[in-house]
């Protein structure tokens, strides 16, 4: 039995409604408890800001990031955020680290932990390539991990939707999650991945997918119903059609509206829309491109069935990586950049393209503003998850920098003052004076994740929760983030303490210990007869089309380090 007492913590824990109150936190055997004995180890937080461990609910940190690594060997030497990037030699406690946007697996674990983050959710696992994701998970130290499996351009999914077989569809989703050891359902540009196999794309929610006679709207609704039938802990996680195109805000709002009729099977949202920054563009071309954030925020303010995340842009180099194959082709052509393109057989497409966000480019400046506009115009922080869609909008090591944009209008003005007049005319950010406080920031980086992924033991400091805790060198009453943003950035860049399951993993911004993290996955129960009928259909797929056999396809438990199986009961 190991016990610890954190004294004098200035706790900011929105899940419990605690807003910067000084209290003690008791820990026993990796969990937060009511009280500890007199022999507990003591950490004196000395009134410093204390939050649950950060939870990145949408990041590309295992899997496709590896394509980014081999396309960008030069990323290994980039050191744009000293202490959190670049080449770092091995120490007694840590392995060698390289990179910025596509760091090696060890660096990903260390650097998230330094930021006070303890859980990450990989945003895109192709079922067929799930083994690779789990191989990388195994080598990412410290953090707890989970991943979202891709279903949005899958032949079997589209066939079951076309043939109106919702039960078999749910059985297939359950099987796909088991095969990939995934946590939830990701839908990327529904139908677009399949269309890309024919060099095409889908242009909107009602544009049929070639050869399948289903529309993106039907795919979204079919998968959402399956998701709720299986009572999955997360809602469907949607990357909308038309990403990256001027005028796409309309498609985004249309997609959100579509989900008003979905009844969530659990106490959470019916829809999560991801990296909305890339999907909140107005205008009709790159010439008259402008922010669509006010329209999207307006809709979201009146909706109570959904959550979204930002996909905030960070100026400098980034690497886009997505299952949205046609978007990456368009990026590569437009930017004359390196391009990787992959066909995931019967399941999806994918692409990787490096790019550079420059404040001098009016398009990039407006993109930067849109992310912040979304965060600040949506009134309820419980609808907003903070992300950069790392490394699509920029590397996660820039989160502390991005927090200063959210917390300080003065800091934003500083950045905006470097923009062209044309850029400023196309955004609404300069007129927004809202500044987030630590409580709202904790909602967007911890609290909402706990709720939207139905993980009551994560993202909060309740008794019974995991003792994943971050203490930052900030005295909440004595700092004004609106003017002292440099201090805020410094404190969030290297936690005074990060605890993972009650163990000190970071102290004074340096790695102290590198325990192995857990991997969460969802096992949804399906009646045997439906499962057997579904298996017959996919057996045909494997026999006729796949390059691998079904027995070689499944991720086995031996692939998972410290697996945590979340069981749900499907309703049939």
């Amino acid at each position: 039995m190991s016990e610890m007492l954190i004294k004098n913590a200035n706790v900011c824990d929105p899940v419990q409604g605690i807003n910067c109150e000084t209290m003690d936190i008791c820990i026993r055997d990796g969990k937060i408890v009511e009280s500890v004995s007199g022999s507990a180890k003591i950490i004196d937080a000395e009134g410093r800001l204390t939050m649950a461990g950060g939870f990145d609910g949408h990041t590309h940190s295992a899997g496709k990031i590896n394509v980014g690594r081999f396309m960008n060997p030069n990323d290994a030497r980039k050191n744009l955020v000293p202490g959190l990037s670049g080449q770092v030699a091995r120490t007694e406690k840590t392995r060698a680290q390289v990179g910025y946007n596509t760091p090696n697996t060890y660096a990903i674990g260390y650097r998230y932990a330094k930021l006070g983050y303890t859980t990450i959710c990989e945003a895109a696992i192709p079922l067929l390539a799930a083994r690779h994701t789990h191989e990388e998970f195994k080598e990412i130290p410290i953090l707890d991990k989970m991943g979202l499996s891709l279903f949005g351009s899958n032949w079997q999914v589209m066939e079951y939707i076309r043939d109106k077989e919702p039960e078999k569809l749910a059985a297939y989703v359950s099987w796909g999650l088991r095969a990939s050891r995934g946590y939830g359902v990701k839908i990327v540009n529904p139908g677009g991945g399949e269309a890309w196999g024919w060099g095409k794309n889908v242009s909107g929610l009602y544009d049929p997918v070639p050869n399948f006679d289903v529309t993106p709207a039907e795919i979204l609704m079919g998968l959402a119903e399956a998701n709720e039938r299986l009572q999955l802990p997360h809602s469907v996680h949607v990357h909308c059609n038309n990403l990256g195109k001027p005028g796409n805000y309309a498609t985004t709002i249309e997609t959100m509206k579509l989900f008003e009729k979905i009844n969530p099977s659990r106490d959470r949202q019916a829809l999560h829309v991801t990296h909305v920054q890339f999907n909140a563009y107005a205008g009709t071309s790159w010439r008259d491109f402008e922010t669509g954030a006010p329209m999207v925020a307006d809709y979201v303010n009146g909706a109570d069935h959904m959550t979204f995340d930002l996909g905030q842009v960070i100026f400098g180099p980034a690497v886009t990586m997505t299952a949205d194959g046609p978007v990456e082709y368009a990026n590569a052509r437009m930017l004359h950049e390196k391009w990787s393109n992959q066909d995931i057989e019967l399941e999806d497409a994918s692409g990787v393209v490096p790019l550079f966000y420059s404040p001098k480019s009016f398009v990039n400046a407006v993109q930067w503003a849109i992310g912040l506009e979304l965060a600040l115009l949506v009134k309820d922080p419980w609808k907003v998850m903070f992300t950069t869609d790392s490394p699509n909008g920029g590397s996660f090591v820039n989160y502390p920098e991005a927090f200063t944009y959210l917390m300080s209008a003065k800091r934003r003005e500083e950045v905006i003052s470097g923009f062209s007049k044309m850029a400023i005319d196309r955004m609404v950010l300069p007129g927004i004076d809202r500044e987030l406080d630590f409580y709202e920031l904790a909602v967007m980086t911890r609290g909402i994740q706990s709720k939207m992924y139905s993980m009551p033991e994560k993202g909060n400091l309740k008794v019974g929760s995991d003792a994943d805790i971050a203490i930052y060198d900030i005295l909440p009453g004595q700092i004004d983030p609106s003017t002292e943003y440099a201090k805020v950035k410094k404190a969030f860049s290297g936690a005074a303490y990060t605890l993972k399951d009650g163990e000190v993993v970071v102290k004074d911004g340096e790695i102290e210990a590198t325990p192995k993290g857990k991997v969460y996955w969802v096992n949804a129960k399906v009646p045997a007869n439906i499962d057997i009928a579904m298996q017959k259909d996919i057996d045909v797929k494997f026999r006729k089309y796949y390059t691998v056999s079904k027995s070689n396809y499944m991720v086995e438990d031996t692939y998972l380090q410290k697996p945590v199986e979340i069981a749900t009961e499907g309703v049939f």
């Binding site: 396309m71 960008n72 060997p73 030069n74 990323d75 030497r77 004359h336």
Partner: protein, 252 residues
Amino acid sequence: MQIVTLSLKKPNKIPIEADNVNPDNFAGKTEGEIKAIPVWYGNGQCPLGDFFNVSVEGSDSAENTKIVFKGDVSRVKRIGQNMSAGEIEINGNVDMHCGFGMKGGKIVINGDADSWLGCEMMGGEIVLNGNASYYVGSGYRGESCGMRGGKITVNGNTRDYVGEHMCGGEIIVKGNVGLLPAISNNGGKIVIEGNATMPASEMKSGTVIIKGEVSDLLPSYKEEGTEEVEGVIYRKFTGDVNVGGKGVLLIK
């Protein structure tokens, strides 16, 4: 004037990474101080004096410091990395990445150079009185801009990918080059007095002059008359049209 003479105590098999060996770092230092400068040897660091005999004459600024390598240093990498002034003379063969990121000053090599000579060079001059291996004046792996300034003269031959991703500066090769010289470059000037194969693929801008034979000229170049350079008339090609390039390729 300060002259620092280095000679290997015995040939090394494991490479030494001499990225600290440049006039900027040696200027004004005594023999003892120079011997103490750390260099990478395999996976650990050792003082320079463990490997080299060091003698120092005089003491002066970087501009007035000359480093002379006596004998072969074919397993010593990164000599002259990031140097901004002064001179290095190498009397023998040298290993990879000599003059990497060089900003000024001069390196003279009286021997052969391994790959990546003058990689990402920004200024100064390299004279190679021997043959070079791959990637003279190129970019770091994955980078889109290689050599940006300065001048490299190779008095012998080079292997493949001379001036890969070059963005500025000048490379002159007196002998022959291998495959794909000036690949993906975006500025600068390359003069090849000998023969070349498949020159200037994906060139966006810049000038490439080939005085010898060209094998496998790429079909993605447009012929546009002739141009005279220093009294010699060349056939003029522009491209690479595959990347909308406006580079100029002059061949006989």
